[in-house]
């Protein structure tokens, strides 16, 4: 029944394989890019959420004890 549905598209399964390869190539590419980042750069970027503003933060009670 499924085959009947898709008779007109030859080798429709190839879509899935192509999809996988596009992803895989992309994944390898991104991984290499990430791996090649410099340590200082990474450290500096990681600090971004921790430095709100130069003027300092508003105090809160959350730092409990």
């Amino acid at each position: 029944m499924y085959k009947e549905t898709l008779n007109s598209i030859l080798n429709v399964e190839v879509y899935a394989i192509i999809g996988f390869f596009i992803f895989f190539t992309f994944f390898i590419f991104v991984s290499i890019q990430a791996y090649r980042m410099k340590k200082e750069e990474v450290d500096q970027i990681s600090q971004l959420p921790l430095e709100d503003s130069v003027s300092g933060d508003i105090k809160t009670g959350n730092e409990n004890k």
């Binding site: 999809g19 994944f27 890019q33 980042m37 971004l48 959420p49 130069v54 003027s55 809160t60």
Partner: protein, 713 residues
């Protein structure tokens, strides 16, 4: 370097935070209500506005788009300014965004309870509201990108990538899934039919989970976990791989909602494959979040906010492990259509979304009001209540789901169904539903404690509308990639290019999945005996959609012996070619209805039975948990809407004869009269213009077309 003085605008953050809390109460109470309705029919109150079929979409929409939606905006309006060291781009856009979104939520609640629905899960809202959502989403994007473009930092932190991906993907999903042909103000038919509609809907549905409930919350995680713990993210490199893999893979996984349905096999396989692959990036994210707390576990022990984050991220890890498992066909054969799925999504919703939101609120509100949290002890109590609630909520549903699935599949040694009466498998679940409702009540209680704690905190503090800050101006940068920077590093300082790449990543999956089904449109095996609905059946179908019957009844018999024995012939793709929208359903609180009208079928009931059953299901089956629908016997069919509906169907390609619009009313009345006459002969006197007549006509049509004739191509 010269420091520029500016201030952060806390007003919108505050507004969205309060909206999150208010809609949280509404959404959770709606959830508790439906958790009770599902095993106490009296809780439907005998009113059309408060029956399960309408309240369940209110719960899902309120939690997803109101509670979680506002939480997302709270996080974005707070973290975006601080990560980019700039003020939000426009206060006016912020206001339009805020009030527009709240107006949409109110409109959604009112229209859903009034029965205006498209009939597609999590996308129920009718076309005028859909357009409003699109406009407000554009305003949100405009404000966000405006802010990004006026930033004072060169680098765009990982949280913001997730916000960007969220924005673009939700836009694409919402627009394509909502395409419809309007019939009138507040009534439309979806553009797609049958399996195509199902595929687009679950491409949307699954990615609503991905890009509304997951990616923005990962953005929150990458900001608030380091913020609260005072430690940078465990691995920034991992976050890059995590981000791209996640957004690339997620978009493919939708078909796992349609396993064993009449969706083409290769698409089902594709959905399974990519769902399994999703474990990797999901767990990459979870590990990155949890390991950020390495060496800070003493802090976690003391701080309820970090405890909430840990449970939230752990719940994310559990749900994203379970999800791929559920997308294996063998597991899905058991889990699908049962309460297992409901348990699964609530690990995500109560654990991941709930806990992260609570943590964020407890951390944020004292800062916005320049004070301390009113009571850490109460926050701790909330933490424990919520954590226990998740266990009480999910465990009974897992047990119930598996129990029911096994009962559905159980055969006697002689080869007959052990539990041929569907109701038997439902009554088994009542104790589980009771415990689940208790879990829900615990969760609501915890949330009410949050409300008290936050109100007290706000009363004690004074609101800091403008928060002074200073940062160096952004020096001009090279338009081109410099020699020393990697490609990704370059991309991270180019937001528009980043947006384009993210869009490409999410579009690839969508295109590969959806395009082939367009190509096969003309090739879905047309079954010559499948004809368009008669005008009365069409009206009946609209009532079926309006009352949200699809929330509890599927119309998709899977190709299992246990299902063909119980319901009849398994469902074919060609059967639903005129179904705008499809009504496959995703949960069987009641039996499947795909073969309900087949006279020789196992489930066939005469018109009179249906009449009595709709009016009072408990009269026909004492243990039934179905709500009563007495108003169907009183309300009149909107006969005058028929020509417009036929016209819209013709626009969509349903082959009604030329100029059939006016004849349709005559045909409708004739068919209604014959049903009323049959009911009269069985002792039920009713006028033929009642909604119940149309609904009976539709129910009696289900499965009829293919029941007698062989399949033809």
């Amino acid at each position: 370097m010269e420091l520029q003085k500016f201030s952060y605008d806390n007003r919108m953050t505050r507004n969205f935070a309060i909206a999150t809390i208010v809609w949280g109460v509404v959404g959770l109470l709606a959830g508790l209500l439906i958790a009770l309705q599902i095993f106490i029919p009296a809780m439907n109150f005998g009113l059309e506005f408060t029956t399960f079929g309408r309240t369940r979409p209110v719960h899902t929409n309120a939690v997803i788009f109101a509670f979680v939606g506002n939480a997302i905006f709270t996080a974005v309006y707070y973290s975006l300014q601080r990560l980019l060291k700039t003020r939000m781009y426009s206060e006016t856009l912020g206001k339009i965004h805020f009030w527009g979104w709240q107006a949409i939520i109110v409109a959604a609640a009112v229209t859903l309870l009034s029965g205006f629905t498209v009939g597609k899960e999590y996308a129920e809202l009718e076309w005028p509201i859909d357009i409003a959502i699109t406009l407000i989403w554009v305003v949100f994007g405009w404000n966000m990108f405006g802010t990004i473009l006026q930033r004072r930092t060169s680098h765009i932190y990982v949280s913001i990538w997730f916000y960007i991906a969220t924005w673009v993907t939700v836009a694409v999903l919402h627009i394509f899934n909502s395409l419809a042909v309007p019939v009138s103000f507040m009534k439309s038919y979806t553009l797609y039919a049958g399996i195509q509609d199902a595929l687009v809907q679950w491409w949307y549905g699954h990615n609503a989970v991905a890009f509304f409930l997951t990616t923005p919350f990962l953005g929150m995680m990458y900001y608030f976990v380091p913020k609260v713990s005072g430690r940078p993210i465990y691995s920034y490199k991992l976050s890059i791989v995590h981000f791209w893999s996640l957004i690339f893979l997620y978009i493919w996984a939708g078909p796992h909602h349609l396993l064993y349905s009449s969706l083409p096999d290769w698409l089902q396989a594709l959905g399974t494959t990519f769902s399994v692959m999703l474990i990797a990036p999901s767990w990459g994210g979870m590990i990155n979040g949890l390991l950020t707390l390495r060496g800070a576990w003493d802090k976690v022990r003391r701080d309820p906010i970090l405890k909430m984050f840990v449970v939230g991220i752990t719940a994310y890890g559990m749900a994203t492990f379970e999800g791929p498992m559920l997308s294996f066909k063998t597991v899905n054969a058991i889990s699908h259509f049962t309460d297992w799925t409901i348990g699964h999504v609530h690990i995500g919703a109560l654990g991941w979304n709930g806990m992260l939101t609570f943590g964020m609120i407890y951390w944020l509100v004292p800062r916005l009001y320049n004070t301390k949290l009113y009571s850490i002890k109460l926050a701790n109590i909330h933490f424990w209540l919520a954590t226990l609630a998740i266990v009480f909520y999910a465990v009974p549903l897992y047990i119930g789901g598996i129990t029911q699935a096994l009962m559905w599949k159980q055969f006697t040694p002689d080869g007959f169904l052990m539990y041929p009466n569907f109701l038997e498998t439902v009554t088994q679940l009542i104790p589980m539903y009771t415990i689940r409702a208790f879990g829900g009540a615990l969760y609501v209680t915890g949330f009410l404690i949050l409300v008290f704690n936050i109100v007290k905190t706000i009363q004690a503090g004074s609101f800091v509308a403008e928060e002074e800050a200073q940062a160096p101006a952004l020096h001009s940068e090279s338009e081109l990639k410099t020699q020393s920077e990697t490609w990704h590093r370059f991309l991270e300082r180019k937001p528009i290019r980043f947006l384009i790449f993210a869009t490409i990543a999410i579009l690839i999956g969508g295109i590969v999945e959806v395009i082939p089904t367009y190509l096969i449109k003309s090739n879905i095996p047309t079954i010559t005996s499948v004809k368009p609905y008669t005008p009365l059946e069409l009206q009946g179908r609209d009532i079926y959609v309006k009352e949200g019957c699809y929330n509890c009844h599927s119309q998709m018999v899977r190709p299992f012996r246990s299902e063909t024995e119980r319901y009849g012939e398994y469902s074919k793709a060609g059967e639903s070619v005129y179904d705008h929208p499809f009504q496959f359903g995703s949960k069987r609180t009641g039996p499947d209805l795909a073969r309900e009208g087949v006279k020789s079928g196992k489930l066939y009931k005469p018109n009179a039975w249906h009449y009595n059953h709709f009016v009072d299901p408990q009269k026909m089956n004492q243990a039934s948990i179905m709500p009563k629908y007495p108003w169907l016997a009183k309300k009149e069919i909107d006969i005058q809407s028929t020509p417009a509906k036929i016209r819209a169907m013709k626009v969509l390609g349903v082959p009604y004869p030329d100029n059939y619009e006016q004849q349709a009313i005559v045909d409708l009345k004739a068919q209604a009269d014959s049903i009323a006459k049959d009911l009269g002969a069985n002792g039920i006197q009713t006028n033929s213009n009642r909604e119940i007549i149309a609904l009976i006509a539709y129910i009696q049509r289900l499965g009829v077309d293919i029941s007698n004739k062989p399949l033809k191509k």
